[in-house]
Amino acid sequence: MNLPTLESINLAASLPVLILAGWACLLTAIDLFISPERKHWTAWLAVLGLLASGVALGFEAVAYSQRGAVSAFGDMAVVDGFALFLQGVFLLSAFLGILLALNYLPRHNIERGEYYTLLLFTTSGMMLMAMAADLIVVFLALELLSLPLYVLSGFAHPRLDSEEAAMKYFLLGAFASGFLVYGIALTYGGAGTTLLSGVVEALVGGGPAPNPVLAIVGMGLILVGLGFKVAAVPFHMWTPDVYQGAPTPVTAFMSVGAKAGGFAALLRVFLIAFPATGDTWGVVIAIIAALTMILGNVVAISQSNVKRMLAYSSIAHAGYVLVAVAAARYPEVEPLAVSAAVFYLLTYAVTNLGAFAIVIALERDDGTGVEVEDFAGLAKTRPWLAIAMTLFMLSLTGIPPSAGMVGKFFVFQAAVQASVGDPLILTVTIIGVLTSVISAFYYLRIPVMMYFRDGEGQANVQPALGVALALTALATFLLGVVPAPFLQMARHALLTLAG
């Protein structure tokens, strides 16, 4: 018997995830004994857990800068710059997700402590996803990420559209998980191992009788499963309905966290396990990226509901990150493309959480008030809100001075470098730039509404929401004006084969 020992598990390296998952388990039990009027205690306890995990993450980052990447759980997980950077993004998003919900849940009469514990569970799933170096761990993390999100999207329970969202998300999500599992099974059949480092060895040759074709089919199925999570185009059908129906703080967190989690797995699996078949998946991902950008941006134009519009916008943004993924298949571009992708995910996270914070401020207690017309006249009644929303919309479009512009710039820079001798990537890059121009049409409609149309412009900003808004607006602005320190961090976000 070859069982792992406590030493090979290297618990210290995965401490941020373990703290969060353990605290989520404990908090579920603690929450049972917190009376219904005091559910905000659960929220603050959850924030405490995030803080503890953040401190552990800080120590990990310091240790990483000294000794480099290490592996944990017997090479099944690896703590490298890529994992640490994304784990930071997840913790930040979860913190903002709690702030967004703090006043929203009681206002909509759906305050239950489970929101916060489920949020912690899904965050720990995302963090595990960022460090997964084995296909089984990828699957485990994906389920830990998804299952709480299914529940959360049905959180506004008696409201029918929320239940519909949960049902749709669950059924389609389970279907996509099936694809992923089958892909993992075929990859295992073809390569003889589920370790990413083992798969690459088997595919390059030298392993015991590898069957590359099985592995390629498996790779395709894995792409379907992960493409569903990040809402890339042929697998995006669920996104608008789920984003519209789910309670707004959940949508905000889901659009940022689940997407970044999916990309964490996509980048690591395809760049570490399948570099040998880059010609195959590079073409497929480039085409998917082009389709995703076109469909997301074009369909978003005709949306009148802001939550639905942001759902299509989130599909479009998945396309921009996919451009970076496609570019990363060239080894000389890979470091730039990977850091561009994770930096893009960071800018998208702060911007989108901010935009949804404004939607939450405008949303009335019965779930209405999220149409584009409801923004009319907001500049007169709430000038600061209008300024913040304009900043977020500029950032989503990619106009300076905002985070989105810097993010897009680096993605396209990586793509242009990769496009030398690859006309497909060049075409996709041009499509990306053109669709960004299209996106200006629907994003900037909201500032036009706020500044040039007369209306009542009602908004309800409660303290926690105000803090979240201030933080996201500040981050969006700072990332756009002085991106250098964060870029420096993203530069260190490199993928490492098991440490």
Partner: protein
């Protein structure tokens, strides 16, 4: 190219598994329908009244709670069989597993899922 044959064989065999018995039965079997045979298949006692009735949601919660014990059994039995050969790590993993499942039970209990209303 040769490797792709495996995929093709896999696809063909998996498509044949359901189609061959169904089509075979249809092609080879004698067909003598009567009222009894062509009615919808139902096992057990014949239904009384409308079948579109609402079931108590509590059945479903009981099924969920049963899952706790179900999973516990599936994993704990092999664990218990190999117990005396397990290193310390194996014991700790098993204990963590039991505690986690116990928490699920406590959760269901506190939420009143075990009360039959």
């Amino acid at each position: 190219m040769k490797e792709w044959t495996f995929i093709a064989i896999l696809l063909i065999v998996s498509a044949m598994l359901p189609t061959v018995p169904i089509m075979g039965g249809r092609l080879l079997g004698p067909r003598k329908p009567n009222e009894q045979k062509s009615s919808t298949y139902e096992c057990g006692v014949e239904t009384v009244g409308d079948t579109w009735v609402q079931f108590k949601v509590q059945y479903y919660i009981f099924a969920l709670v049963f899952l706790v014990f179900d999973i516990e059994l599936v994993f704990l039995y092999p664990w218990a069989v190999a117990y005396n050969r397990l290193p310390l790590f194996g014991v700790i993993a098993g204990v963590v597993f039991i505690i986690t499942l116990a928490e699920a039970l406590i959760y269901a209990w506190r939420k009143g899922a075990l009360e039959w209303l």
